[in-house]
């Protein structure tokens, strides 16, 4: 299962985090710093999966943004790797109309993520279905 999803910029600052297993607030910063260290400085030709303590990290790099997902040993790394890409595609689809950077709309990114992953499991991957609730809210706001 998925333990957490992190979005981190190139400087290692967290832009978004969602934990699916409780982690104390005080321990998150240290964990995130560790995770960033584990992923950010890897070379492009190196493996996208990293072992970290008793779980694994799957990361993907888009422009100045890294998306890192913590998963348990039993999870399928490659499927999570592609899930990240699916997530990015959905973001792309939704925010293509938006002018300001995506991270300034953190709430909506969260809403999209919540549609895709719940309790550490992939619950929806169909783009239009993921975006349906959010689009409905937007329509409501504009009408």
């Amino acid at each position: 299962m998925i333990k957490f999803v992190l979005m981190v910029n190139r400087q290692g600052q967290t832009r978004l985090s969602r934990y699916y297993q409780p982690v104390e607030l005080g321990k998150r910063a240290a964990l995130e710093a560790d995770v960033v260290r584990g992923c950010l400085y890897r070379k492009k030709e190196e493996c996208s999966f990293v072992e970290y303590k008793d779980f694994k990290l799957v990361y993907r790099h888009y422009a100045s943004l890294y998306i890192v997902v913590g998963i348990t040993e039993s999870e399928n790394e490659l499927s999570v790797y592609e899930l990240v890409h699916n997530f990015v595609e959905v973001l792309d689809k939704y925010f293509s109309r938006v002018v300001s950077p995506i991270m300034f709309n953190m709430d909506k990114v969260h809403i999209i993520l919540d549609e895709m992953i719940q309790n550490g499991h992939v619950v929806e991957t169909n783009h239009s279905r993921i975006l349906a609730p959010l689009s409905a809210l937007d329509t409501l706001a504009h009408s």
Binding site: L25, L83, I102, F104, Q118, N119, D138
Partner: protein, 1160 residues
């Protein structure tokens, strides 16, 4: 990844860029400003200042009444951002709930979002959300329903599930797919946090599985994966459905928008494959149903895209998990081959992972890819290298162990990650113990492990290593050789550079030299002493290690040469501030000068007679109680002190969260006990070494499985370090006396052993391969270790299982109970006889109230012995509520019968004292099916001119029955007899016959029996039942007699049989707790066991497990929730900690525990 996608994403970077882009006008969003501000900062300190300022301003605005919901939303997003960076924003939690409640559309959604990010399941504020959720679930606005269901699926208070469950269930029939889907996901959440609550709707899950919408169907698979994992055999009938669904998905029957890069619903496929693998495991016929669809999945997934590889990987795993089919295995193997050989690094990794998984069944596959594996072993990417080592670890056998261990050690030498170091250290040790080809290799390898892993090592590694040395194997010759080799290598290590040796290693060395240096011919004890002495001067040498060193020296100190060393040491370190050190020095000096005493204190015996040691130190009880009487504070072991300290700080300390599973594993049995041991050896005089719990369960690790198995000991290693600190002392101390020192002879200095096997062949990959894969595959007689084939190697360094202290003891309670208590049935019938005959003995017994509770009474009447606590099993313990006086008084079936007879005969008194003794022998009237069940004594309820009412409480497994006997001693029938009973604490219902009001007749000189089932509505210490018996006298005069009957909680307590794991889960699930110290039955030889068994016998509790000084006990309220009890010996008391989901239950039960232990 396909190139097409890459291209479509080229536009993305600019969008995702969160850094301010130069040409673009700055966003007006306040979050944007905040994010920019933070991005520009360089120091952590500046960040903190900025965020604190931000939080202050948010706090001001949220509490202002003029803030609109739109603004509130903006503020919440910022608060979430601050908290995400690690700065608590708890003031905003309540506002997030308010926003969810009062906002509309997106504002409301953000309110819910903030709640789900801020609060965890157990947060009390979450209760405030329940009403909002309820309201939104009823809303006509689908978007609001959707939001409510989303948040329910993320975070919801467990206790409030019943409040919304019906509404969520209702949504399963909603016409909109998204609502149905979200409802299923909400139920999935309920299943995760409270499986019992949704047990009744399993049929609805099936309906969801068959939903016409693929989204709803796939949502239901989450629940099924969970349920199938837990209990695969219950869902075998669904295999056809899962197979059909997978077939349709693979066949492209889903709408096109479920595709991801033209692959149909890949994550859904993966989910289905996981479920199938669970269902097909070890089940041939079920597996056969899957072969076709698995074959098709393999065939279809041929497109060159990551996601198809992800599916293939899952497919391969499934094929290797279920009952094998040659054809499929072949294809899967080919698939793995493609992965391993792929130039794409991610695929290579996956291939290695698959290979690691698969070699357990097919070692040949590793053989096929040996050259690739060799290449991976030298791969630049450490992750790949590490995965390869994991694979090698699995294929190790007696023939390739040397090469593989060398590879592991090589990685270990360069590892900078503590976690990896500890993990690999454990693995090397495991392999060395299992497959060591010879003694000298074993010693060399272990030396390297001790050196490389150092003090972060798992504490059980040195422990088991020393045990191995001391207990040996089947051949005494081998044992001596092993010890000799160890002594040799340690002597040379000490001669070289002792300063760089880790503490753990120094301790091991000291112990071995102290114990076995005599094995080496010509090694003078004084020489060893001189080697050990400099260790005391080392600056980094901990005082604990020094104790080990001195203990070793003391064992060796015979003869004048030693005395001089001892005196030298005493002079040099006599002024040390460390009292333990000084104490040991004194002992050393004293024993060195008195050979006779030394032989007596540390007798030389080569026999390995395990010593019987009183690990509970019960012989000190007198001393302790004197000290306590003199006002000393009760002793608390360090771990408890820590615990209490932690509790004071209000940290969440869940003893069963982490430590329970640990405390049940072998290593931690030692770990849990050791603090006591440690404090003992440091707190008492040096002689306490001899008291160490050789016989105590803590250190008996034999016969206990090792911590790490196929998966390595991953999870636990992270938790070890603190335990490591605790477990150090016990082992060697425990063996201190085991082997004595035999003849002592002069020294020969020895050449240092080579640090590792030289691997000339290393350069030649081919040769390496042949080494690595030796013994693999069909030609090798020795299969890889995990295949479970017989091992041809000489040594299984751990095959010897001697003794069985803790493990068997800990698992024993059920057996104990079976043997120790008499069968309730036979005892019951015996009691019946006794009760019946009791009137004959009347008068012969003095006051029964006095004699009854004393089991030791020299001349007990039959009735007394039946009611004495000596055989409590068939009895219901009755504790004296005020109205229970009949119970006490009634222990006197023996009392003279004259009075009552007069009453009956006299036929004059209307209502006599209801507490008068009961003369009649009623037990034969007990309904047949209730005979033999445990019950209370029959005691009188009330009587009048013609009728006598008596009652007893009978306990069956699933109910408590009140049996009322109506004896009509008169000649005429009591007409229209009726009983009415009510109780505030109990639900009373008539068991047999018609409604309660039904009128019946009780004929003259007969006994009518009525049964009522009692169910407690809420637990309470004592429960009272008020009733009224009414009937018509022969003359037609209506007659009515009130009565009352007292019951106590134990009448409604049933043992709860759970496994220790379930107990741990239940413990965490129970919220109401209470702690108290109880009296201990300290006269018993094993006070803990005796006390718990007393509770078991008196209160029908189930003793789940007893480990060392702790025990866990479980029971259940009749038709109610469980109550768990954790007990620990503590300073002559039993520290108990009760938990239940019902607030009153622990309290009430505790009261009865106190009573049960107070009565002797």
């Amino acid at each position: 990844m396909s190139d097409v996608v890459e291209r479509t994403l080229t536009a993305l970077p600019s969008l995702l860029s969160s850094d301010p882009s130069p040409g673009r006008p700055s966003s007006t969003s306040k979050l944007g400003t905040l994010i920019r501000g933070i991005t520009e900062l360089t120091s952590k300190h500046d960040e903190e200042k900025l965020i604190q300022r931000e939080l202050v301003s948010i706090k001001e605005q949220v509490s202002s009444p003029n803030t609109t919901m739109r603004q509130m939303k903006e503020l919440m997003v910022r608060a979430v951002y601050c908290e995400m960076l690690g700065y608590e924003a708890s003031f905003s939690y309540i506002h997030a709930i308010k926003l969810a409640q009062q906002g509309t559309a997106l504002d409301k959604r953000v309110g819910y979002l903030a709640v789900s990010l801020f609060l965890n399941e157990s947060h009390e504020l979450l209760l405030l959300l329940v009403n909002t959720v309820l309201k939104d679930l009823q809303s006509t606005n689908l978007i609001e329903v959707c939001m409510a269901l989303t948040v329910v699926g993320q975070v919801f208070p467990k206790d409030m599930i019943p409040a919304i469950l019906p509404m969520v269930e209702e949504k399963l029939n909603h016409p909109k797919e998204i609502i149905r889907r979200k409802a299923v996901l909400a139920l999935y959440k309920f299943y995760l946090i409270a499986p019992n609550q949704v047990q009744h709707i399993h049929s609805k899950f099936r309906k969801a599985l068959c939903d016409k919408d693929p989204g709803v169907m796939s949502a239901s698979l989450h629940i099924y994966l969970e349920m199938v994992t837990e209990k695969p055999e219950s869902y075998k009938d669904l295999v056809v459905s899962f197979v059909t669904i997978l077939k349709q998905v693979v066949g492209g029957k889903l709408p096109i928008d479920f595709n991801y890069h033209s692959v149909p619903a890949p994550w859904l496929q993966i989910q289905l494959l996981r479920i199938l693998s669970l269902l097909g495991k070890n089940d041939r016929s079920t597996s056969e149903m899957m072969y076709e669809v698995l074959d098709e999945s393999l065939r279809r997934a041929e497109m060159n895209h990551n996601i198809t590889y992800a599916i293939l990987f899952e497919c391969v795993k499934t094929i290797y998990t279920i009952h094998p089919k040659a054809e499929l295995l072949e294809k899967a193997a080919k698939c793995i081959g493609n992965f391993v050989l792929s130039p794409k690094i991610n695929l290579k990794y996956l291939g290695l992972k698959a290979l690691t998984y698969v070699v357990q069944q097919d070692a040949n596959l590793a053989l096929q890819h040996q050259m690739t594996i060799i290449e991976c072993l030298d791969h630049a990417d450490l992750i790949i290298k590490r995965e390869t080592l994991e694979l090698l670890f699995r294929i190790t056998n007696g023939q390739n162990v040397k090469v593989i261990v060398e590879k592991l050690l090589e990685f270990l030498r360069h590892s900078k990650d503590d976690y990896v170091t500890i993990d690999l250290g454990g693995k090397v040790t495991e392999l060395a113990e299992k497959y060591a080809p010879d003694n000298s290799w074993f010693i060399r390898t272990m030396n390297t492990v001790f050196l490389l892993v150092g003090d972060q090592m798992q504490p059980d590694i040195p422990n088991s290593f020393l045990r191995l040395l001391s207990e040996g194997f089947e051949s005494a010759e081998e044992d001596q050789q092993l010890r000799l080799l160890a002594v040799d290598s340690y002597v040379s290590l000490l001669q070289e550079q002792p300063a760089r040796l880790p503490q753990r290693f120094l301790q091991v060395i000291s112990w071995v030299l102290g114990e076995y240096s005599s094995v080496k011919e010509g090694l003078e004890p004084a020489t060893v002493l001189r080697l050990l002495a400099p260790l005391l001067d080392l600056r980094h040498c901990s005082s604990e290690t020094k104790s080990w060193v001195l203990a070793a020296m003391t064992k060796l100190s015979a003869g004048p040469a030693c005395l001089s060393v001892a005196q030298e040491l005493a002079e040099r370190h006599g002024g040390s501030l460390d009292t333990t050190l000084r104490q040991r020095l004194h002992e050393l000096q004293h024993l060195a000068s008195d050979g006779e005493l030394l032989r007596r204190v540390l007798p030389c015996s080569d026999g390995l007679e395990p010593l019987e040691v009183d690990s509970t130190l019960s012989f000190l009880d007198g001393f302790v109680s004197e000290a306590l009487a003199a006002g000393a504070a009760p002793y608390k072991p360090p771990h408890q002190r820590q615990e209490e300290l932690a509790q004071e700080k209000a940290l969440s300390v869940e003893p069963y969260g982490l430590s329970l599973p640990l405390s049940l594993s072998s290593s931690s049995i030692a770990g849990r006990l050791s603090p006591t041991v440690l404090s003992m050896s440091s707190g008492l005089s040096g002689n306490s070494t001899e008291l160490s719990p050789k016989g105590g369960s803590a250190l008996r690790l034999e016969g206990v499985t090792r911590v790490w198995g196929k998966e390595g000991y991953l999870a636990k290693a992270a938790l070890k370090p603190e335990e490591a600190a605790k477990t150090e002392v016990p082992c060697p101390l425990s063996v201190l006396q085991e082997g004595g020192s035999a003849p002592r002879t002069p020294v020969v200095s020895l050449p240092a052993p080579a640090p590792g096997p030289s691997l000339q062949a290393e350069r030649e990959k081919q040769q390496l391969a042949s080494c690595l894969f030796m013994g693999l595959g069909s030609q090798g007689a020795a299969g890889p270790c995990l295949m479970g084939k017989a091992e041809p190697t000489r040594h299984g360094f751990r095959k010897k299982v001697k003794g069985q202290g803790s493990s068997s003891g800990a698992r024993g309670p059920s057996g104990d109970s079976a043997s120790s208590s008499p069968s309730p049935l036979s005892a019951q019938s015996a009691m019946d006889n006794l009760l019946c005959s009791s009137p004959l003995d009347s008068g012969s017994t003095p006051s029964p109230a006095d004699s009854a509770p004393s089991p030791a009474d020299s001349a007990p009447s039959p009735a007394d012995s039946a009611t004495s606590p000596a055989d409590p099993a068939p009895h219901l313990p009755h504790d004296l509520p005020a109205n229970n006086r009949p119970c006490d008084a009634q222990e006197d079936l023996t009392e003279d019968t004259d009075t009552s007879e007069t009453v009956v005969e006299g036929n004059s008194v209307a209502v006599v004292d209801p507490y008068d003794p009961e003369p009649l022998c009623l037990s034969p009237h007990l309904p047949e099916e209730l005979c033999g069940l445990p019950r209370s004594e029959i005691r009188p309820l009330c009587r009048d001119a013609s009728l006598v009412l008596s009652a007893c409480c009978v306990r069956t497994d699933h109910s408590s029955l009140l049996v009322v006997f109506v004896s009509n001693a008169s000649d005429s029938a009591a007409r229209r007899f009726a009983l009415q009973m009510t109780s505030g604490d109990l639900e009373v219902s008539r068991v047999r016959g018609g409604p309660e009001e039904e009128e019946e007749h009780v004929e003259g000189h007969s006994v009518a029996v009525y049964q009522y089932s009692l169910v407690p509505t809420r637990p309470s210490v004592h429960m009272e039942l008020a009733g009224r018996a009414s009937y018509q006298r022969p003359d037609g005069e209506p007659q009515s007699t009130p009565f009352s009957y007292g019951l106590s909680l134990p009448d409604f307590i049933r043992p709860l049989s759970v496994s220790t794991e379930e107990y741990g889960r239940l413990w965490l699930a129970s919220s109401n707790d209470i702690k108290q110290n109880l009296a201990l039955l300290s006269q018993e030889p094993d006070p803990l066991r005796a006390t718990l068994h007393r509770l078991r016998d008196r209160l029908q509790l189930n003793v789940v497990d007893i480990i060392a000084s702790e025990g866990i006990v479980a029971c259940q309220l009749l038709q109610g929730p469980p109550c768990l009890m954790h007990c620990r010996l503590n300073a002559g008391c039993l520290a108990v900690w009760l938990r239940s989901s019902l607030p009153e239950l622990p309290d009430c039960l505790l009261y009865h525990c106190q009573r049960a232990l107070a009565q002797h």
